[in-house]
Symmetry: C2
Subunit: 444 residues, 2 copies
Amino acid sequence: MTITPRTLKGFRDFLPAAMIPRERLIETARNVYRSYGFVPIDTPALEYEEILLGKGSEETDRQIYRFADQGGRRVAMRFDLTVPLARFVAQHIQQLGKPFKRYHIGPVWRGENTHRGRYREFYQCDFDTIGTQSIAADIEIVLVIHDLLRAIGVERFTIRINNRKVLNGLLSKLGLASASVPVLRALDKLTKTDRDRVAQEMMSAAGASAQQADQVLALADLNGDRDSVVSSLQEIVHGSEVGQQGVAELQQVLAGSLAAGVDSEHLQLDVSIARGLDYYTGTIVETFLDSLPEIGSICSGGRYDNLAELYTKEHLPGIGASLGLDRLLAALQELKLIDTVATTAAVFIPYFDASELNSYLKIASWVRQAGYGVEVYPEPKKLGQQLSYAADRGFQIALIAGRQELDNGKCQIKNLKTRHSLEVATGPNGAGIVQTVREILARD
Amino acid sequence: MTITPRTLKGFRDFLPAAMIPRERLIETARNVYRSYGFVPIDTPALEYEEILLGKGSEETDRQIYRFADQGGRRVAMRFDLTVPLARFVAQHIQQLGKPFKRYHIGPVWRGENTHRGRYREFYQCDFDTIGTQSIAADIEIVLVIHDLLRAIGVERFTIRINNRKVLNGLLSKLGLASASVPVLRALDKLTKTDRDRVAQEMMSAAGASAQQADQVLALADLNGDRDSVVSSLQEIVHGSEVGQQGVAELQQVLAGSLAAGVDSEHLQLDVSIARGLDYYTGTIVETFLDSLPEIGSICSGGRYDNLAELYTKEHLPGIGASLGLDRLLAALQELKLIDTVATTAAVFIPYFDASELNSYLKIASWVRQAGYGVEVYPEPKKLGQQLSYAADRGFQIALIAGRQELDNGKCQIKNLKTRHSLEVATGPNGAGIVQTVREILARD
């Protein structure tokens, strides 16, 4: 009796055609993070339950996979990479030193409702700088996001920048400082519902007056060039020290990003960003693809005051962001910015003559040594069948040689895209083949 | 009240100095697998319990982390990547086509006894070719292992090759075919105990005569050059069809590997390898570091008959191997083949003049665009403090510029290894700095 092969609801198998671009995107992220000196860490999938419980909302707690292990310990699977980071830095900060700049890429698990297209296992791809209040770290977050999107090949994107202190300043000027959570919760709905309802909610849930609600909502109206937005903000927060500091930080982040070569068109001050405001304490960033803004932010983050307060008395401020891998991959697919191939190698060698396997292995080895991936088909099937295997998977070149060609030191090179073939002399250690492969791959 | 930050027994945090070489090794493995056309897949950490239970030994079953999820389903965390592969190919083989060559790198979990230095969470790093009986796939396993070790920088290693059919042939000639499991179990102890005891066990546990035990143990005496070993084997299996096929396959694997450029010194016929013999059906490989043979095989695998028989009626033969990541990393450390650094970037820019942050960001961006990782220190602390941060982490170069130097278009470049400094002209878009950085990194 066979067992039905199936996966759990909300969990995914990644087939090669999906996994190849996924791996490439992760590699790109890793390379960009590294180019700023962020270093990798990893933490266990399982933690003591007490480390993870009660760190998010009640809903998060319900979603955590948790159980008793073989030794009777209450354990839980990590639901994000931030809580483990907090535990990690509290435990190791003496050894790590400050600033500590880490990236962490790995799976997390949440027993979520799958109706909204959510998955119960997904990757997070985070980078954070811990242990410094310096605005240099804030600027760097913008630079990393910028370089990452450029490295992926996205040309048109906007990094929206806000600063929690601006809103804090305004709210304290309006006497609404103690109602900031319900005010923010209402403000966050501005993208989904109309302004009147948001104002209504500010009044009913946060006890704001109509005039106060109006003054908060005025933030969302700030448009136009950055200099005029900055001037308006300066007026709005005038008299509030924290508000003025927020505006100054916004200016520094902008100026630093521009100095480091970020094109002005990629940067936007957007003081209406409210999501995450109740967690973040300073700079906040969100990133939108100009061609697909409706999918939401594909890389978000911000500054927080004290990462690890639950685990240590040491004060550890930080700033970080998280790349939304699944969302970005879906977008890249929609924008046709990723090729769908099911091979990691460019060159295919059919097993053409049943007695010549070792010749094919030798040719493959020469081409591989020149830096190109080569797959040798393992069975001497009909050539047509082997070539359609190669074409289906997206190989670019086939190297075809029968015994006669091999005896004469020749090889046929077929460009599988253009279907053009030519015969070349193999050359010493395959130099003739390698040269033609190099030319075709550089050109097509 | 703070929660004590701690990890579960058998689980590890990876700090940057441990994670950097780990990530590099995984990248190297991935690149070598890709260069042969192996493609990546991923499967969920959690599977239905029935998929995983009863696939290994009873001990394995006890080690599996399993529980009821929020929906009451019995779920289990994967304990290897082979059982999920079997489920995966059974489920998707129509879409994948054959041959299917995949690699899969990811964590697995086993609630093992940690006394023997075992971990409860560790990475597996597997590659397999499914759906072909061709010896080409067997040869390729050897080539992949060879290229992988060369890519890592290991010069002296031995790939030991065996074939289950040779032993099968001998056992059937001796009339011991039905006792192969206890015979193998005894033979496997040859590295740990003396020959007499192994013979004794073959007699007591497998019902072999003293003469039969002697004839099996004669396999372990086969030494000398490969041609003479092959001749002896041909005599030993003479008259057994399956035995002769085994010897022929061994010869083909050797000849194919040599044809593809593997140096003869890396290959050894070793028909006494018994580990895994009760699972594998043909070629078997193990890989030893010549300078550290005592740590055991760092990459092992072999051919199996029917991967997914529990999940599908389709017959799916295959061959694959698994890189022992933890073991290899420990060995590389012991052989001093990995640098211990705690940075992913080579170039460090101290925040020297408090008013010049944007200048440092600009220089960093120029150098980064030339392909070098650059970290800008986020706080304008004392230069000595910043430089010792850089030296501790293993940065190679510091770019130091005060306001005066910046005003004069100059920058000081300090080689942190040699402690030699020189002043260069920044040049347009930092070209002068980039050139010197390139020279130092190419040289030192």
